[in-house]
């Protein structure tokens, strides 16, 4: 019989140990399930966790995949910290990409890269507007933001499908559901390295991550806004007594996270696809939820978490190609990882005590 005894103060050791132990447990249970379902566990392990590091261009592809995850995860961090459960980042990602795409396609001849500032801003607005729907319903009418933001994911997926097959379809696309290609000014280029050339798909969008991590760190740790978010999440009563306006915080974090998801959408499309198509996201919005938790809801943690999860995603692609394991298997790892991370959170606050007998 296990009982939990509250600790006097949060255990610092567990903050570091928990994520590492969680990853260890996840791999263990993942292997167990693979064995049970008749796949070669060691080969699967190799494909998912090791093969992404086997070539330098693959390593840079990890960064490319981590880029949207980190951007979205940072926004979700703000929501989850303040106990606002935005799980519709996938839809906000799509709507951001769509609005930016609409603007990009409206200026077919633009060449200056300054135009990217406009499309990225449009992406922010698109994502934020989509998140504004659950925000306003939550604060005005007390409608559950979890369900609304999730329903809007399905709506956004259908909407971009409609737009790309209808109004924005390229007449020259031979019946494929694709928009016209973006103008030069709306494309994010790959980074050329002197003497090496391009490293896989590594593109300038990564600079945004480099900028975002310190900015969000300062916001969370050094500003009043960040302080309010922390208090609201960890001690809602205290926030109330301090006179923090809960509603305006809820709206702000939803707009920011929606906006960041939208920006991630712009970067993904502008750097990797170059035109609109029915599928632009591939589940980044959902995966980022795991990234935010694995990163312990801190900007630096999310940077590492994004890289780890991106590795697993790429590894799963490899496993699909070489072993025929369906890609969705990453969900299996993500789910188990989240379970153990959350358990780790309990262990930060409670000690385990083994007591004998007693039922």
């Amino acid at each position: 019989m296990i009982t939990f005894i509250p600790r006097d103060k949060v255990s610092k050791n567990w903050i570091i140990i928990a994520p590492i132990l969680s990853i260890f447990f996840t791999i263990f249970f993942g292997l167990l399930i693979f064995t049970f379902l008749g796949y070669n566990p060691l080969e699967t392990l190799y494909q998912i966790f090791v093969s992404p590091f086997s070539r330098i261009d693959r390593i840079s592809d990890i960064l490319v995949k981590a880029c949207p995850l980190i951007i979205i995860g940072t926004g979700l961090m703000l929501c989850f910290k303040s106990n606002v459960w935005n799980i519709g980042a996938e839809g906000q990602f799509i709507m951001g990409a769509l609005l930016a795409g609409f603007i990009a396609l409206s200026f077919p001849n633009i060449e200056t890269k300054f135009f990217l500032l406009i499309t990225i801003f449009a992406g922010f607005v698109g994502g934020a507007l989509w998140a504004f729907i659950p925000a306003i319903l939550k604060t005005k009418l007390n409608v559950n933001e979890i369900l609304v933001s999730l329903m809007l994911v399905y709506v956004a997926m259908l909407f971009i499908d409609f737009i790309v097959r209808g109004p924005l379809r390229d007449p020259m696309s031979f019946g494929f559901p694709l928009s016209k290609p973006y103008p030069e000014g709306a494309l994010i280029n790959k980074i050329p390295f002197p003497g090496i050339g391009f490293l896989g798909q590594l593109h300038y969008g990564i600079l945004l991550v480099v900028l975002l991590i310190p900015v969000s760190w300062i916001f969370v740790n050094k500003t009043l806004g960040g302080f309010k978010i922390n208090v609201l999440g960890s001690a809602p009563q205290a926030a109330k007594f301090a006179g923090f306006k809960q509603h305006s915080i809820t709206i702000t974090v939803l707009l920011l996270s929606g906006g960041l998801a939208g920006v991630a959408g712009v970067i993904e499309v502008s750097a990797n696809i170059g035109q609109l198509q029915p599928e632009v996201s591939f589940g980044y919005g959902f995966t980022a939820i795991i990234v935010a938790f694995l990163g312990r809801l801190s900007p630096i943690g999310i940077l590492f978490a994004g890289i780890i999860i991106a590795t697993v995603k790429l590894g799963a692609d490899n496993a699909q190609m070489t072993m025929g394991i369906p890609k969705v298997v990453t969900g299996l790892f993500e789910g188990i990882l989240l379970f153990f991370l959350l358990t780790g959170e309990t262990l930060q606050k409670y000690k385990i005590k083994w007591s004998e007998g007693k039922k």
């Binding site: 409608v143 259908l158 909407f159 969705v328 298997v329 379970f339 959350l342």
Partner: protein, 303 residues
């Protein structure tokens, strides 16, 4: 017309089952957002069992068991390890999407026989309603039986009242000696069983083969249905039929070539969910006595 009503009923049954299961879990104070995942597991479990044992009734059993197994994972973490219920529920759906994708891969392209209809002696001969109400499959009858049972269980039976007490105020329930954690375990597993059978119904009756994520958001709509029904069992029937109706309406619209793009029609169930939640939540925030007060809060007391 009769065929239309029958399809609407068939479409609403998975929603109805998943929602009544979740209602019981929520009444005990557990918010399990993993309904979508439990339904997927039920679907894949049912498909596997029917392909293996070649009898659709085993599909129901396998669906129920799969749902219970997945729900126990949720119980271990949220009830015993006291993890955040919202995050764990999300994790459960993500986990189950991966697991069922993996388990379902060998089943792709295989078709299973449908669940047979059972005619109830004499009653099925009544014109019009006979065909609709008394010529249904086993799960349809079962789901109505569960709703009726749960209505009485919650209102009049002692265990039902204890369950509600645990959901409304777990500290008081604990101090008078009720095993809060054990009751929540049972309630969550019951929720998993219902969601599993609801998920099993999808391949058994609606589309007889596996595709990844084939529940298409039904689990989330079921969660919304519980709110829509204000945690009152019989209202789930009404809600499920409305959503079944909307889903079928958009399919009929697509088939008959209504001059609205098909994607916009397909949005209807999701938009309707948002509208229904909005309408009901305004009323609920004025009268929140129906919401279990301990919903979503972990219980720390030792047991």
């Amino acid at each position: 017309m009769e065929a239309l009503i029958l399809t609407i009923i068939a479409t609403s049954i998975p929603l109805l089952l998943a929602a009544i299961g979740e209602l019981i879990a929520e009444k005990s104070g557990v918010l399990n957002l993993g309904v979508e995942g439990m339904m997927l597991s039920g679907a894949v479990g049912a498909l596997g069992a029917v392909l293996w044992l070649e009898n659709p009734y085993y599909g129901i059993v396998a669906g129920a068991l799969s749902g219970i197994i997945i729900a126990s994972i949720f119980s271990v973490f949220t009830i015993n390890f006291m993890t955040n219920q919202v995050a764990t529920g999300l994790g459960l759906t993500i986990f189950a999407t991966g697991l069922t994708g993996l388990a379902g891969a060998p089943l792709v392209g295989k078709t299973i026989p449908s669940l047979p209809k059972i005619e109830i002696f004499l009653l099925s001969d009544i014109p019009v309603i006979g065909n609709i109400l008394f010529k249904q499959d086993f799960v349809a009858y079962l789901s109505i039986a569960i709703i009726i049972f749960i209505s009485f269980f919650l209102k009049y039976s002692k265990p039902g009242i204890i369950l509600r007490a645990v959901g409304d105020d777990h500290e008081s329930a604990h101090s008078v000696g009720y095993p809060v954690k054990k009751i929540r375990w049972y309630a969550t597993c019951f929720g998993g069983m219902c969601a599993g059978i609801g998920g099993a119904y999808i391949p058994l009756v609606l589309t007889p083969h596996w595709s990844e994520g084939m529940t298409a958001g039904r689990g989330w709509i079921a969660l919304a249905l519980v709110v829509f029904a204000s945690w009152i069992p019989w209202r789930i029937i009404v809600g499920a039929l409305i959503f079944g109706g909307i889903t079928i309406a958009q399919l009929v619209g697509q088939a008959r070539g209504w001059p609205i793009p098909s994607q916009l029609l397909s949005m209807m169930p999701y938009l309707a969910t948002i509208i229904a939640l909005t309408m009901i939540s305004g009323r609920l925030s004025k009268n929140n006595s129906v919401i279990p007060s301990s919903l979503g809060k972990p219980f720390f007391g030792s047991q």
